[in-house]
Homo-oligomer: 251 residues x 2
């Protein structure tokens, strides 16, 4: 039962996320993908396009977590410095990968535009590629670090190719959710008691506000489906004991 | 001209964000609020509801950045441990703040429910309060750390009360955006030259994909409005030189 938790850390690289111009959606998506592979997202960091910050964050996180996933900064412009920073963090050369060069050269372009596009073929020496089902340039893996695009459609395509041949996870985390028109404070004490009875699951409560009233969604997360079902039934009985009706989750 | 950049760091506390169940929107909102106060969001971290992680992250970030802002974990349930963790990080007692107790007691409740609700009145000793215009329990400030709710409507209400009496920022960052149906690789070299001519602004390029074609939005960010206008004109001329039309931004 006591299996090691395999941890993942996401590094979101980009001034546009930090400035609020762009809303990140990659974290939520990748968390779901990793969960299916048995990797628990343990931390995420959003950092600017600054070499020293990227290198330091990467070296800290790749030592601290089992797997690290970056998004952003692998395009063809001057602020796309992720590949160069990762080469520096691993202290290896930055090379043009022939398989990415081949993909890029399939589409013709004037020489100076092609030169810019070929910047996307640069990877740290020793990296292996992450397929890009959209047909664009690939991402790459070096050590326990996976480097992907920031554009959500491209990132999701790359993430869809990650599998157990390169990521050795534990058991996927499953969840059960049940909701009620009860305030968090009403259920707090009873909920805490249920959490104490089941230390190996996470019991969370998330308030919601709707036109027809406010209430709370209760979420239990763990790796044992039978235990989750049993706890969901406890939560249902608790809700009923407060004179409310238990229903399927409200987002 | 060479004014010190005032930096902010956001710590998003909550398993529900890391698991992908809930999409954070507070980072983008707070970045905008801070910018108006002259504080540049320099980093954001998303961390789980684990005491050791919260305390360590808080102590690291409050030493590293001018201001730190946390969201999440200040509700009434067992997984709401933010206030206790911040007291521990500052090595002070956790107390019941009389002004929050008063707000909470305005709404009647059975004794056990009231006990749970009063957990939201706990703050580290020495903290000052952050008003909550929604009428619920307040947030708090201790040192350079500002502690706010995770529910977006409440967080936004609290953030709206932050002003220059408690946050001493620099100049707000302004931006200009211009778009074109040109690939990033087409503009990459010219864009890099413009960035080199203006080292004190950030020039960014963000590809977009629409039914009527793909293109790039060019964003220039800095504190000098006249310089930004001049650069926008350079970008417009650059776009025209590639035979394309410059237009207002596409999201």
């Amino acid at each position: 039962m006591a299996q090691k938790t395999v941890t993942g850390c996401m590094i979101i690289i980009g001034n546009e996320i930090l400035s609020g111009r762009t809303q990140d959606t990659n974290l939520a998506h990748l968390a779901g993908v990793l969960n299916e592979l048995g990797v628990r997202m343990a931390e995420a960091r959003v950092i600017p396009d600054i070499e020293a910050v990227i290198v330091a964050t990467l070296n800290e996180c790749r030592a601290k977590f089992d797997y690290v996933f970056t998004t952003g900064g692998i395009g063809p412009t001057h602020d796309d410095i992720t590949a160069a920073c990762i080469a520096r963090a691993f202290n290896v050369e930055l090379i043009y990968h022939p398989d990415i060069v081949e993909v890029i050269k399939r589409r013709q372009a004037p020489p100076d535009v092609m030169d810019s596009r070929l910047l996307m073929a640069r990877v740290p020496e020793g990296a292996t590629l992450i397929d890009n089902p959209t047909g664009g340039p690939q991402g790459f893996q070096i050590g326990n670090v996976f480097v992907m695009a920031g554009v959500p459609a491209v990132m999701q395509a790359m993430a869809s190719t990650l599998d157990q041949t390169r990521i050795q996870g534990g058991l996927p985390v499953r969840s059960r959710t049940i909701g009620a028109f009860l305030g968090e404070s009403t259920v707090a004490a009873a909920l805490s008691a249920i959490q104490d009875q089941h230390p190996d699951v996470d019991v969370g409560s998330y308030p919601f506000y709707r036109a027809d009233g406010y209430g709370t969604n209760l979420v239990v997360r763990g790796t044992d489906e039978l235990e989750l079902e049993a706890i969901k039934e406890k939560l249902r009985l608790m809700i009923v004991s407060f004179g409310a009706e238990a229903f399927e989750p409200v987002r």
